[in-house]
Symmetry: D3
Subunit: 154 residues, 6 copies
Amino acid sequence: MDKIAVFPGSFDPITKGHESVIKRALPLFDKLYIAIGINADKKDFFPIEKRMEWINQVFKDYSTVEVIKYEGLTVDLCKKIKAKYILRGLRTSADFEFERSIGQINKKLFSDIETVFILTAPEHTSLNSSIVRDILKHGGDANQFVPEGIDLSA
Amino acid sequence: MDKIAVFPGSFDPITKGHESVIKRALPLFDKLYIAIGINADKKDFFPIEKRMEWINQVFKDYSTVEVIKYEGLTVDLCKKIKAKYILRGLRTSADFEFERSIGQINKKLFSDIETVFILTAPEHTSLNSSIVRDILKHGGDANQFVPEGIDLSA
Amino acid sequence: MDKIAVFPGSFDPITKGHESVIKRALPLFDKLYIAIGINADKKDFFPIEKRMEWINQVFKDYSTVEVIKYEGLTVDLCKKIKAKYILRGLRTSADFEFERSIGQINKKLFSDIETVFILTAPEHTSLNSSIVRDILKHGGDANQFVPEGIDLSA
Amino acid sequence: MDKIAVFPGSFDPITKGHESVIKRALPLFDKLYIAIGINADKKDFFPIEKRMEWINQVFKDYSTVEVIKYEGLTVDLCKKIKAKYILRGLRTSADFEFERSIGQINKKLFSDIETVFILTAPEHTSLNSSIVRDILKHGGDANQFVPEGIDLSA
Amino acid sequence: MDKIAVFPGSFDPITKGHESVIKRALPLFDKLYIAIGINADKKDFFPIEKRMEWINQVFKDYSTVEVIKYEGLTVDLCKKIKAKYILRGLRTSADFEFERSIGQINKKLFSDIETVFILTAPEHTSLNSSIVRDILKHGGDANQFVPEGIDLSA
Amino acid sequence: MDKIAVFPGSFDPITKGHESVIKRALPLFDKLYIAIGINADKKDFFPIEKRMEWINQVFKDYSTVEVIKYEGLTVDLCKKIKAKYILRGLRTSADFEFERSIGQINKKLFSDIETVFILTAPEHTSLNSSIVRDILKHGGDANQFVPEGIDLSA
């Protein structure tokens, strides 16, 4: 049976941390969906098309990666696309407490799902999309924090 | 002297975690007020009447429990109803850091108050009202996370 | 039915942190046993008789407190003396993670037991018996960290 | 070369915790700027002039302290005023995780900058500006949490 | 290429937590070595033969599992048996901080290795081999904490 | 008045993490003592003379650094050499909880002392002397974790 995984997130924008986690975890799975959740409550910083375009560009040479968007619960997406694994990166113990809670709730909603974690690289520990957006809001240059080839100011 | 306690919260909605903590702590007190704080800054998910009705239903056979709503500081409520104890459940170390801060500030505002904590059951560690609301917002069924007899979709 | 609690520990020696937690929690219980665990694996710093004598001195005016020593599991002691509550103080999130683990295991070994926590006072957050012993080993004066009237150098 | 430091924050309002950290760290630096960040995203509780006035009053006898306001990234301010140090207080491990992230990102944006931390006093561990504002919103008196001479209700 | 993983530990003794993590992670790998580290510094509680026998019994119906013992660094074992993955369970944030450190050091010693984490089940959060040993040392019955069919007192 | 600081530790052996923290913090102080505590309870891995020799070699071009050894409490050393600052690096939140406790106790033993923290570099987050010793005990090569020019196997 194929090992299908979902890496859910808002990727607003994708960071070097996301890129590193996904590339290192890829060999574990036959197919990995990078799934952008559409959240009516949260205001987007970058339009979803731009976010998908950037991710597609980063993984254009990786045939098992597919970028999708979805609404509703992540576990409902997993059921629909027959994914048994959710992939997440872990940076800090605050991350862990948050992810454990989500992971345990997901397991109660869909008992076949398993969340698989790998560590972010040490140099990406402090990095997340929210910090990238903050730098941009304050007029800074955040290109060093996103994958090669992405120009946030373009 | 009677041992009077307050369990403050927004209970939006009450969860199985709340129910378990309150039922296990009840024998410690002569009277326990479940006190719903009215917070003008936060938008309610369920109307306060509905929240009170659900809690009343859960504890209808427990004569020492009373559901109330209040505005203002929790310690001011405690002074008014002569409560010397605030009851809280602890799930995670993030919870603990938050609760310790509130508990120490409450002690400075009213030196006679003591916060009493008990542990949530392991199977409720990942559960809180905010997660229940998130599941509902995403079109999921969250009834397994609230006390028996409550139908969130009703 | 009487509310009987156990505060287990090694109290090697009792600190101002222990004293404060116990005095504030006392009104919750009809009887509180301060129970010194005898641990063959750990080398005592102060002899157990000295430790019991100090605790007796601190609580000599508190009629509901009794100092005892015990071997074996804390839950087995609780069953024997009909205690339904274990009392513990919480200082830090590291404490919390440790105490949660012990508390959940105790609950699996004896389902009637409930661990009740209260906060240590802010000025005692950094204090524990191990630090007191370290100060003494390095030739320092640690009397400010133990209850009034105890002279560790005597 | 002069040792110039920046203590950035919103100081909405300044607390006894801020005051204690700054006074204890002052001897380390030749000049310390208390820098109020102007954040278009966050709604102020107290007007920025009032916040600056209070800080000026607290440090009026400290010749090396200067209160300023700024927009944009903290590291850009540091470059402009030739500050090589950012000063921050640490209260809890949640604080630490947050500050480490900011500190590491600042270092990537400006490799000459070093964040210097000192501990808040134990009695200020639970205190921050957000708690002060919450007390005021709920109609309480928070003057005990701000420096002597500041009257929040004035 | 085969996906080969190592789950290193002392398994003194194996717990229900280990069993659950391994069984849920198994489908990710073509081969999983449960590898008992021989540590000259630590005194064994159960003899290594007994520990291997128990694990063999638990996984006797799982053809991709093999129990081995090893000396030296875990990454050296991985190189020798061509494993690219180390599998570990995560229970608490204290666990996470510890595992992150080991995982990052392992990556520096052998850049091809990736540590893969999955969550322990909520009911196993408080469980580890050390607690099982403590219960036994204090004369308690710990059989409920180890896999079905293992009798620790035998 | 001169700003004198102490960086206490066992440095068994010094790591790249220590080196980085000390070099970045040096400009803050007029004099920095790297002080190796002699602890009768802990067994040394490397002889104290070797440890001092390595540190001297690392800082031979830094005129404000002096390596010393001491017995007794760190605060007693500080009083003797007129140091008002203790310098420490912070890696993780577990570190922080530990250091906060030590720092607050030191302040109670000597009210003039202030502990100053700076962050370890992200790539050193997982590194400490104990891990270096573990690698050596298991027959590995740990030279990449200690300052340039130190050969642990020599």
